[in-house]
């Protein structure tokens, strides 16, 4: 059974919930090595998505929801994470355009397109201590899970787990992109807020598909 428009709606709802729940944590992480607004930015953006979800037709596709979320994030979040997450979801939407049910390969395509969108805009590489450090292991884990014949839900769960590991792995790094790059060595020991929020958003995706608790 693939993931349909209802899943996408549930993902966005779960994302709004998980962001609201971890708002202060994300602010605190960002205060340590950035400017302390990451949780506020995402909370503003996902809160703006919520009311729009109620107005969706029953036959909405995942691509429709992803595009709606993308444009809403772009026009409400601001900062670095707004255009990055916005572009990610826009590219993801294009990658699964027209599909009503996403199978495991489609989920991998969605995640890959999202990650590539972030890299296109932000030009960060793995190891630069950004959200890319969560997205890239997530994409790799998702590919492996799909190749192993896992269900779309399990593919997302694998992605979420890998993202969490990727976020944790940002802690010892010096940052080369984003505000944390201004800190030099002083960024060492702190987790990147965007990598952390990425792992929450992927947890939300898996939970919306029935895997794991967001």
């Amino acid at each position: 059974m693939g993931l349909d428009g209802a899943w996408a709606v549930a993902w966005m709802r779960a994302s709004a919930a998980v962001v609201a729940e971890h708002r202060v944590e994300l602010i605190t992480l960002d205060r340590d090595i950035g400017d302390g607004d990451h949780g506020e930015n995402l909370d503003r953006g996902f809160s703006a998505i919520l009311p729009k979800l109620d107005e969706q037709p029953l036959d909405v596709t995942p691509a429709d929801i992803l595009k709606l979320a993308a444009t809403t994030l772009i026009s409400t979040v601001g900062g670095a994470s707004g255009p990055l997450y916005g572009t990610a979801l826009l590219k993801a939407s294009i990658a699964v355009a027209g599909q009503e049910d996403l199978d495991a390969d489609a989920v991998v395509a969605l995640l890959t397109a999202a990650r590539d969108g972030i890299v296109l805009r932000g030009k960060a590489e793995v190891g630069d201590k950004t959200m890319v450090d969560a997205w890239t292991p997530a994409v790799d884990a998702a590919s492996a899970a799909a190749a192993a014949g896992e269900s779309p839900a399990r593919v997302l769960a694998a992605a979420a787990d890998a993202a969490w590991g990727g976020a944790a792995a940002t802690e010892p790094l010096v940052a080369r992109k984003g505000r944390a790059s201004y800190l030099g060595e002083r960024a060492i020991g702190h987790r990147d807020p965007g990598a952390q929020s990425t792992s929450y958003l992927l947890q939300a995706a898996a939970a919306a598909a029935g895997e794991g608790a967001a």
Partner: protein, 333 residues
Amino acid sequence: MKKLINDPKDVVVEAVAGFGAAHPDLVTVSLDPVFIARADAPVAGKVGIVSGGGSGHEPLHGGFVGFGMLDAAVPGPVFTSPTPDPILAATKAVDGGAGVLHIVKNYTGDVLNFETAADLALAEGIEVRSVIVDDDVAVKDSLYTAGRRGVAGTVLVEKLAGARAEAGGGLDEVADLATKVNERTRTMGVALTPCVVPHAGEPSFTLADDEIEIGIGIHGEPGRERIPLEPADRIVDRLLAAILEDLPYAPGERTLVLVNGMGGTPQVELFIVFRRVAEALAERGIEVARSLVGNYTTSLEMQGVSITLLKLDDELIELWDAPVQTAALRWGR
């Protein structure tokens, strides 16, 4: 946290509304989307200049909207870049047919959001050029990093590009002038206290009673290093050394000095700092041809100061002296 605000979520909209009410002769404000434009915008045939970024740095940018400087300012939430929508709206509002220059401080968020707005403007047939300001020497620059931050030097870029546009310069000419100013501008700052973002309600960082943060940014982000408090003259010497190491001056060269308060610094301290800057530059044979001392690029109530040097030439001096009529900078009319 004690602030003279109502709902933290309304800070920017209410402040912009108040600014518009205080300066009806200079600006008109839009509250949805939020931007501030010259009262006489669009000026037909003139290159429009738009800048913006997170709020909390006032008078940057809204205080510099008016004759001879910016055509529009786009304030985002406090310390957070605006989204593309208001930037696009402001760009359209000030396009007088000669194209629009975006002056963007070098932060990933600002760059990305202005980039998207520029793409959208182009799609609507407006020619846009963008100049990225990155004057902060506190941050090590490299091809592989986000690069330097744009800080108080932005004011100088805005003033001089504004003068060039007011004098009839074309889009490329104005953009090239802005680039030239940025290339000749260096800034280094220090914080004595942190600031509190309204929606966060907590200080951006904490400093002990005898500590200062050298190389501070303008968003309450931590600086380059933390050292014990020193006499003002020694702090000034530190900041100047970093600037002059990055962009050396030969004796006899002329400079514009901007001593910029971070928001909560008493004015006496700014002039104590300026006094030492002038003295130290004189010792090196550098001529202070122009100067500006005050709160121009702030971080809310942060106490601290930044020093900016702009290497002048005759062209820049002439543009600096050209009339400007904005809420925060005004001379010649």
